[in-house]
Symmetry: C2
Subunit: 457 residues, 2 copies
């Protein structure tokens, strides 16, 4: 069976189907998209059934539903649980998109649409790889699909879902394509992900908006105060200035850092792709380390006072910010959120009241490289790309990975085929067609390799 050849023959159909999926505006963060979320879940269910699974269901949760499907070929065969998510990030700012986010277009070898890479384009590779093997009567493993709808809002209901369906989710490994590789010429596998603590703060000064002339200089301005408080969260060296923040951080050994540094990285290309004349961050660490093995704190949004046309001389009553911290082993999302909250309240200046509201969080993970599934992924990538993958640490967060291990006792392989330049969470998100097709091929190889290696357990 020539997988490559079969993919080539079906590629136009694969792309058309993916574009159908991308046309559904499944934004989980915004209640206005509720009907689209439902429609998307049902679309995924149908696509799994037509790909040849034994059964596929849309399973309700307290939030958006999970699509679950399985194909059983025999209990003597190993079982792969595929995880993905059909929800996407909000598309705004809309005015920065070159084409509408939910009207996918193909340009210079990429599909442009919200969700193209994160994660519709990537979980759909798994459905097509499965379909291909099933059609050829060549499926060598049992497969289970769990495609959720709340990854972009913190998978709040997945814990209870895992607890409730623990037995039917039994598997030998979890395979996830929701990350990126260094490049088509430098295949890689992510061996770690950062955790997340996300909070929203409100600074309140006077009980009403004031005239900045009549009161300015005598009454604490909540915007100025919030800016000063946020500024104080980093020191001159770029370290985060919250007592206890680094207490649990696992420092990598010099050998580990040297190994990481071997990963090809072109700083000049990185800067010019982002349009910045310099990178920034914690001193003493490289860009790869800053995004891979070090925790961070970013303001994701800020608003307060008059933001309309022209000028208004107001001293506002309130100012707001959304902040998130990326966490590394062994930081705990809950603990860091508590440290932040206590510290941020403590540094409020006279005349300012602070409210802190937690959003979602997630734990950092490191995935093992000494298990059969990781070796299977390595061999599959070598078959497709002719090169051995380099292990990398991803800067993003998939809170669910830590949950899998905690509740299902399962390890995960993060075999992603996106690129950092795919602009996920940004305007003009896109996914390379070659990445998509090579991903399907690699996933098919993975199942074959894993069937062999897992048997030797």
């Amino acid at each position: 069976m020539n997988i490559n050849h079969l993919i080539e023959n079906n590629k136009n159909r694969y792309l058309e189907e993916l574009m159908d999926l991308l046309r559904i505006p499944s934004v989980s963060a915004d209640p206005a998209y509720q009907p689209a979320m439902r429609k998307c879940a049902e679309w995924v269910q149908k696509s799994l059934l037509s790909a040849g699974v034994d059964s596929a269901e849309v399973i309700e949760t307290d939030g958006h539903p999970v699509v679950y499907a399985e194909k059983h070929i025999g209990s003597q065969y190993p079982t792969v649980l595929v995880y993905g998510h059909y929800d996407v990030q909000p598309p705004d700012p809309l005015e920065l998109w070159d084409s509408p986010p939910f009207e996918p277009v193909i340009k210079s070898g990429n599909i442009y649409a919200r969700g193209a890479a994160d994660d519709k384009g990537q979980f759909y590779m798994h459905i097509k790889a499965f379909e291909l093997l099933a059609e050829q009567q060549a499926l060598p493993v049992n497969i289970k699909f769990m495609i959720e709808g709340e990854e972009e809002v913190g998978s709040a209901n997945l814990r209870s879902f895992l607890l409730q369906h623990q037995s039917r989710l039994a598997a030998d490994v979890i395979l996830v394509s929701d990350t990126s590789m260094v490049g088509l010429d430098t295949p890689s596998i992510e061996t770690g992900l950062r955790g997340l603590a996300y909070l929203e703060v409100t600074a309140t000064g006077p009980n009403r908006d004031l005239h900045s002339g009549v009161y300015g200089g005598a009454v604490a301005n909540p915007i100025n105060a919030l800016c000063a408080m946020i500024a104080s969260l980093h020191d001159e060296s770029g370290r985060i200035n919250i007592p206890g923040f680094y207490d649990e951080v696992v420092e990598l050994s010099q050998d580990e850092r040297t190994a990481m540094a071997k990963r090809p990285f072109d700083l000049a290309a990185y800067q010019s792709a982002l349009g910045v004349d310099a990178v920034a961050g914690e001193s003493g660490y490289s860009t790869i380390e800053r995004t891979g093995i070090r925790p961070t704190l970013d303001v994701n949004g800020i608003w307060g006072g008059y933001t309309g046309e022209g000028a208004k001389t107001v001293l506002p009553s309130k100012a707001h910010a959304k902040l998130s911290m990326r966490l590394v082993p062994n930081q705990s999302s809950e603990n860091i959120a508590a440290l932040f909250t206590a510290h941020f309240r403590a540094i409020a200046p006279p005349g300012i009241r602070i409210d802190v509201r937690p959003h979602h969080g997630g734990e950092p993970v490191v995935t093992p490289t000494d298990m059969p599934a990781y070796r299977a992924a390595t061999l599959a990538i070598e078959q497709t790309f002719g090169k051995s993958p380099v292990p990398t640490r991803g800067g993003g967060s998939i809170p669910i990975i830590a949950l899998f291990e905690e509740i299902l006792g399962l390890k995960t392989v993060l075999m992603g085929f996106g690129l950092d330049s795919d602009a996920i969470h940004s305007p003009n998100e896109h996914f390379g067609i070659e990445n998509f097709l090579k991903g399907i091929e690699t996933i098919a190889h993975f199942h074959q390799q894993f069937a062999v290696l897992a048997e030797h357990k």
Copy 2:
């Protein structure tokens, strides 16, 4: 003629007319209100004509028109030029108003509406005081009215208007009611106003919104950077941290400060009215000094990144802020704007580009207390309130006052009847009915007193 009695007989009509004026949403900052601005100018023109002026015109400018009217009784009589503005501040945040901003209501002795005190309620007192004297054939001075429509957006076109109409604007003094007094039991006259420099800044980091996990910690975040830059504009003592900012500031003598301190001020009442547990500001100065004789810097608005529902893990491309500085003698608005711009660009961290766009500005003023018009105002206030007014320094800015002196060579009397608690520029702006009626009475007295004193020049 018993002015008091005449006002009592007409007060219901006065209030109904003022409420008509307040129903016109004349917001100068927002182009959407353009038709309302026009309608308001024509309403003012009509009200002047029916009050008895010889002529009233709506005079075009490059922006919103100026309403100009005059009543000439004889060149042997002194001439008073009344200045006011018919434009108002934007009403947002709308949700904080107890009643719609352009549907005036009378509650517990106040008229609630945007513009009630700033400045419709106050310039309308002048029209009614004039009407009253004219009806009684008792007008003792020539009167000119110049009611503009761009005070809340910086009077950008008034300089050219003054230059163009210099001769017809000839007068002995300018009388303005666009400020506040300490209280009905403590009448006061403002003898100084702060200047203003208002700018908008944009911090740009990467060329697109980024995923805060993939890039967070390695790429400068424009919100964090803007916050740090804004925080650095004040030092620990609350002084403004811009090189050269204080170079031209006139420090008051200890005697002057002692005199200012005599003005009654209840800090506890001030704090509880604003709902703050502490005041704040430049150390070494009282609250009255902080708002009267010291320059300040306030952020009037800030925005950037994701500000919608829920959580979005974005590292935004841009962050924005509107900032304004209140200036004191002898700071120059243009010079301070230039110092700010140079400094703010200079402190941009690596990876962040800064754009600074100036909005409107205005020069600080001190009005003389040793001229006939000021004595006339003092006597008029004594007649109405039975108390001599205390001189105060206002924290607000009326850029036009400095222009009057520069171009027309005229001094101004700032005889305002508002209260600091009127919530101008805030939700639920209001104006005391007693202030309104006493203002009309005082203005009528002023003309009579000035007619006598000005003759003795």
